[in-house]
Amino acid sequence: MANSGADLIKGMATGDREAFARFYDRYAPLVFPLILKIVRERAEAADVLQEVFWEAWRGAAGYDPGRGSPEAWMVTRARSRAIDRVRARRRRGEMFVAAVDETLAAAPDDPAGDAAVRAEERGVLRSALDRLPEAQRDVIELAYYGGLTQTEIAERLKQPLGTVKTRIRLGLERLREIVQPL
């Protein structure tokens, strides 16, 4: 019996442990790599993963399939929690970490990652993001993987805030056409 993700969430809302186990098996492999890419540290990524699925379990009754797919529901949650971590870390370590952070941002590859897998992965990533004009791709990558806010992006790229906002909107609209052809 192949349950849809939405069915599993419905099961979770009624306290079905087995549905949750299957939900985890299906969606953890999707969101964990993303969380790891954002927080860059395995133990911390595992923490975030647990937080995200715990919230999904607690919030299952509030899921409305009309408002988005289970993928979008989980990815939104995962990105948001991972970015919270990165921002908290940035605030804590502001004094000494800023320089390190710059270096990491300049070299987006996780130093612990396997170079071959990385290269392949970047190939895939490029196929979606690379079709954006560079100016739009930069702002979206800095926010999506770096967790930077519009103000921080404007400072880093030395661009007016309005320009950054416009690029984000145009970039997302273009991406939508690329990843979800109608």
Binding site: D25, G113, L125
Partner: protein, 262 residues
Amino acid sequence: MNQRHEPFDTLAAVYALGALDGEERREFEAHLAPGCARCAAALAQHAATLAALAPSAPPVVPPPEVKEALLDRIGAPAARPERARRGRLRWAVATAAAVVVSAWFTGAFVAVRYEAQLGQMARESAAQRRELQRDIAALNDELAPYRSAAELLRDPVTQVVALRGLGPSPAATGRVIWHPKAGGHVFVANLPPLPPGKAYELWTIGDAAPRPAGVFRVDAQGRGSHRIAPVDDGKPVKVFAVTLEPEDGVQAPAGPMVLASK
């Protein structure tokens, strides 16, 4: 007619990306709270687009202990010791039970066989887990000085001081990573093996007499590391030196000097 809504379309995109901040974020949330169908639809659309980018992160296997911990948290009415292992055993037992029930219909002897096998698998995996935990603890101990040194290096006031071999050990080398308030670490290489009853002793030298900064040993390759406590009075250290002394250490250097800075 949509002229007045236009700015919110842009804010919705930035908000969906998680990049909206400051006053504009409050403004957008205030606009969204009473219910704006157009923005809700835009946010859902953007979330779907952003979710479609997720599979482009490099594939990594999610840590299995997270699933165990979550299932335990869900099923556990109260905190219990050794949650993870008991969770795993409970699953193994549940699986074994399911196998037994289904095998009962096809032949009881199959059940006996699988039950024994699964029991053994559960015992083996618990033993492996304990072994791994010991290995991880040992590796963490070994890593501790390097982690601590790396932490110190983030602070711009931290100095790295080179030590050179002297007299009896010209090939010896060393580095001191030194923070004036937090102390530091010394890492050495190519020191001669220690005679029985002896150890190397580190000295910090400021304006007054050399002060003992602890004894340490080296491995078969002549390598060693040692944590240096901060200097009590916080006075600057000008020279670091290592001498060969009795293994309990002495209060003033007496043996030959094997390494020194400058």
